[in-house]
Amino acid sequence: MADGIIVRQLNAWFGALHVLRDIDMAIDPGGVTAIIGPSGCGKSTFIRCLNRMHEVVPGARAQGQVLLNGDDLYGPGVDPVQIRRRIGMVFQKPNPFPTMSVFDNVAAGLKLDGVRNHAHLDEWVERALRHAALWDEVKDELGKSGASLSGGQQQRLCIARALAVRPEVLLMDEPCSALDPIATAKIEELIVELKKDLTIVIVTHNMQQAARVSEATAFFLLGEMVEFDKTPRIFTNPRDKRTEDYITGRFG
């Protein structure tokens, strides 16, 4: 049943600008897939196409097929809202809701979906916070503003918020680029922990990070997917000259 994410002939545009060209990719269920590439190569756009967040930007559109466990996310009559419940997302900059407490931030997805039962909320919020390795740090101050946490804690809060609605896939768009090395290490540990239950797709600028956390890596360049393979292979013995140039730091 679980056959992961299959992308076929995915194209994306911002207005007239063609930013993704004919992407074909099969992402295995479970485990971490890293997307690397220089700035502007379309890697963020690519993962935003996976949960239909790309089309939220005015003028942006996408075309092609994305299958999640067999369901076409771009099929006719598919509601992007339902898609986003199955595919969570964590952004580059931590973005907790500033008007909500730590608890309400995590509960937001559930509450706004109509969950009223306090016992359920308490249980799910605690589970999500534990899952995001934040519970021990915030359990005594769940009522405090989400924006008052440190940057690394805020990012884990955002991860907990995404986990609370129990998605099948978690997309991470450079989740550590605004964090210091210690907070980054914590998030990486967390990713390794989370991949036991989830499929994770992570965009990163940091090639060491891709090498540390992922099983498979895709290299994007100028809107095209140049190479997609097992991570060790990409970093030790890439097929394509451009991949080799990039990972050895010759451009980008």
Binding site: A108, A147, C158
Partner: protein, 280 residues
């Protein structure tokens, strides 16, 4: 030597900006002082509880005008706030370009229309068909004045909510209308309420558009379809009358009007401070 010069310039500019900031609030302080000096003696319990006395009789108050002003503000808010806030959300959230641009432009024009013209407008489309001056007509005129202010501040504040929060909420699988209602608006709430208070303060003191809509009334009004008193109207009438006693009452009326605006702004500020600050 260079450092000394730089520090000197710095101190001078810091002093200059502080002085400019002080000059900005100086008129307000002077107005307040002047009003207190001229009007405080006439502000007493009677002023808030009594009707105006006939010419020649001393004492009396402006109870009807205070209630009238509050009623007019209430009426204007009932019409103006929902329309202005909903419209502002539309302007900020719409993906269309041309219609919001047009509405924005026209709202700015409306904001610049002299209030007396808006009074004439309300006279033509409310007073004439109903064949009577009324609180309703006054409230309508004030609502028209209030609308563009509420519309534009709501738009600006909704726009200020970072796109990242919107995206975070959308990515949780929350439908767009709920994102706006439960994430965007609460974040912009404090700012929107400030805008609302600015518009309320603005209409509370409007006189011209009430002259031929609410018309004024020396007695209690009976229902919203009757002429109604308002503080600015009463102040105007008393200030141009030839009696010293009335002049004092006019000053007192102005003082009370300013205090009402001041207190409501203060209360709004405190109430909206909230536990977790959004945008202010």
């Amino acid at each position: 030597m260079r450092a000394g010069f730089r520090r000197g310039v710095n101190a001078m500019m810091a002093g200059l900006t502080a002085f400019a900031a002080f000059l900005v609030i100086l008129p307000l302080l002077l107005i307040l002082a002047f009003l207190v000096y001229q009007g405080a003696s006439a502000v007493n319990l009677d002023f808030f509880t009594q009707l105006p006395k006939p010419v020649g009789e001393p004492g009396g108050g402006m109870a009807n005008a205070i209630v009238g002003t509050l009623t007019l503000i209430g009426l204007a808010s009932c019409l103006g706030l929902p329309l202005g806030i909903l419209g502002g959300i539309y302007l900020a959230e719409s993906r269309d370009r041309r219609l919001p641009w047009t509405i924005r432009f026209l709202a700015d024009v409306l904001n610049g229309v002299p209030s007396i013209v808006i009074g004439i407008f309300a006279y033509t489309i409310v007073v004439l068909p109903m064949r009577r001056f009324s609180a309703l007509a006054g409230g309508f005129a004030l609502a028209v004045i209030m609308l563009p202010i509420v519309l534009r501040t709501t738009e600006e504040l909704v726009r200020l909510v970072p796109a990242s929060l919107r995206e975070a909420a959308l990515a949780l699988g929350i439908p767009e209308w709920k994102v706006i209602l439960r994430v965007v608006l609460p974040t912009a709430r404090a700012g929107i309420i400030t805008g609302v208070m600015v518009s309320v303060a603005r209409i509370a003191g409007e006189t011209a558009p009430l002259l031929f809509t609410a018309f004024g009334n020396r007695f209690w009004h009976h229902g919203l379809l009757q002429p109604i008193a308002a503080l600015p109207l009463q102040i105007f009438a008393y200030a141009i009358a030839p009696y010293d006693d009335w002049h004092r009452q006019a000053w007192a009326g102005a003082l009370v009007l300013i205090m009402m605006i001041f207190l409501s702004s203060l209360v709004a500020r405190i109430v909206t401070r909230g536990r977790y600050s959004g945008l202010r």
